[in-house]
């Protein structure tokens, strides 16, 4: 079934034979399969929530070459789910801690480091050196980029994505199978779907979805079993339920269809409608947290409007603020007075930017967005307040 990955295999040392003995005694793997694993080259896009379990298990399984693409630094908020990294790694490059951890697990694995963001300029070159790509990224532009590059190069793309308690997994760009664009021809407009940092994710969830990605990767390498092609696996952790939906290759797909119209990589930020650095609205609609603090201290009348969800108020809040969650703002707008000066805030400034835009559209003139949300407030104004 699966694509043949390897040609003439190398051999295993006595130490490797012992290490992989639980594989070697299974007829589905045996010496031939273990040598295939050793010869395999797998590229992981992202060494985060999904990339962590994938990298750990592929290294343990004896995949010979693992490429990691990640330019990020380990942050304390990562550790709830990114099990490649530990507390002492906070502040280090994710690649540094990942390489160290993988070497510790299996010194026979070669780890290639790509300390870059995957872009239309480097994607084809990087991916070309690998047999299989595992997509563990966290944003739509990179999802479409990885998909298109994999289709163009004919590399299977082992896909996983997560949100709160819910995950999806499948294999795209497998010969004859569908691609990401067959399922989602277009991305949602920015802002319609809440972000990771705003929406949250159960720390265990990427573990489960990542392990499914790792399983499918190993099956592709071994050429055993039924690959998760043409099937979208949905997982709901709250219900503890797996479902499977049929996926079909769309003959009219612009990338993998019968007459593709996209034959080279495009501008994925533009495709996804993302305007870099403009997500917080015009500069004159923003206000610095220190300025707000100074004006409050002078006794000026400012209405603070908190558009976060009620459960976020348990983490922290600015005293005196009124809470109307962003989703309820349209029907609760009568609770606000457009004659008053209003400063809107959320956790990081994204949701409040949408609230400001909405309020200005309906005629509020004296409304501003607190730059950086409660996180920047905690940093610049009130260190006793937690960041999250």
């Amino acid at each position: 079934m699966a694509t043949s990955i390897t040609s003439a295999p190398a051999s295993l040392s006595h130490e490797e034979i012992l290490r992989y003995s639980r594989h070697l005694i299974m007829p589905e793997v045996a010496m031939e399969g273990q040598l295939r694993l050793k010869q395999a080259r797998v590229l992981l896009i992202g060494a985060g929530g999904l990339g962590s379990p994938v990298a750990l298990y592929l290294a343990a399984a004896g995949v010979g070459r693992i490429g990691l693409v990640d330019f990020d630094v380990v942050d304390l908020t990562n550790l709830q789910r990114q099990i490649l990294h530990g507390t002492s790694d906070v502040g280090r490059k994710k690649l540094d801690s990942a390489v160290e951890r993988l070497r510790q697990i299996n010194p026979h694995v070669t780890v290639d480091r790509y300390d870059v963001a995957l872009t239309r300029d480097n994607a084809l070159e990087i991916i070309a050196d690998y047999d299989i790509v595992v997509d563990g990224t966290d944003n739509f532009p990179t999802r479409y980029l990885v998909n298109d590059a994999c289709v163009m190069l004919g590399k299977p793309n082992v896909y996983g994505s997560i949100f709160r308690f819910e995950g999806q997994a499948t294999i795209f760009a497998y010969p004859g199978g569908p691609c990401y664009r067959c399922l989602y021809p277009e991305p949602p407009p920015p802002g319609l779907v809440p972000s990771c940092a705003e929406g949250g994710v159960l720390g265990i969830l990427p573990g489960l979805i990542g392990v499914i990605q790792a399983t499918e990767t190993v099956k592709l390498i071994l050429g055993k079993g039924q690959p998760l092609v043409g099937r979208l696996l949905l997982y709901d952790a709250l219900a503890m339920r797996f479902r499977e939906l049929k996926l079909r290759r769309n003959p009219d797909c612009p990338v993998c269809g019968d007459n593709p119209t996209i034959r080279e990589l495009i501008d994925y930020d533009a495709f996804c409608g993302i305007r870099r650095h403009e997500d917080s609205g015009p500069a004159e609609w923003q206000i610095d947290p220190r300025e707000v603090k100074a004006r409050l201290d002078r006794g000026e009348r400012l209405v603070l409007l908190d558009v976060r969800e009620p459960h976020e108020l348990q983490i922290c809040k600015i005293p005196g603020a009124k809470n109307i969650p962003l989703s309820e703002l349209p029907r609760r707008i009568h609770e606000l007075d457009s004659a008053e000066e209003i400063v809107v805030y959320c956790k990081m400034g994204g949701r409040s930017a949408k609230a400001v835009e909405f309020l200005r559209q309906v005629g509020f003139r004296k409304v501003k967005n607190l730059r950086g949300g409660t996180n920047l407030w905690a940093e610049l104004v009130d260190p006793s307040m937690p960041r999250y």
Binding site: G46, G48, G49, L50, G51, D72, D75, T77, R81, Q82, D135, G136, D138, N139, F140, P141, R143, S161, I162, F163, R164, F165, E166, Q168, L183, Y184, P185, E186, P187, P188, P190, L192, V193, P194, S195, C196, A197, G199, V201, G203, P206, L232, L234, D236, L238, R243, E244, L245, K246, L247, R248, D269, C272, I274, R276, D279, S327, P330, M348, N375
Partner: protein
């Protein structure tokens, strides 16, 4: 009765329910009934022209309605409709990325 399964990302618009039951003869009727009952959900399912948004996939049981009769697809009692939204999250970035999961 058909059951419409609501994905996590959209539950905030349906009183946090994971499923909603409606009486409907077609897929289109079921979604229309759903978005009449939960008006804030409408803009997440339909665009300004009243068409289903292209990044929202609707499945009847395990089949994509695009490969059936789309919104005209007839429903039987006990069918399950699933709304499958785009999610991009990899549990990866926090503050440094344009995250859209």
């Amino acid at each position: 009765m058909v059951k419409i399964l609501i994905p996590t990302a959209l539950r905030q618009y349906v009183d946090q329910r994971d499923a909603v039951e409606v009486e409907a003869r077609t897929v289109g009727e079921a979604l229309e009934t759903l978005s009449r009952r939960y008006t804030e959900l409408r803009r997440h399912l339909y665009n300004e022209e009243g068409k289903l948004r292209s990044f929202v996939n609707i499945y009847l049981n395990d089949e994509d309605i695009r490969y059936l009769q789309r919104e005209a697809t007839p429903l039987n009692d006990g069918d399950t409709l699933t709304i499958v939204p785009s999610i991009a999250g990899g549990g990866h970035g926090d503050q440094h990325h344009q995250c859209a999961c």
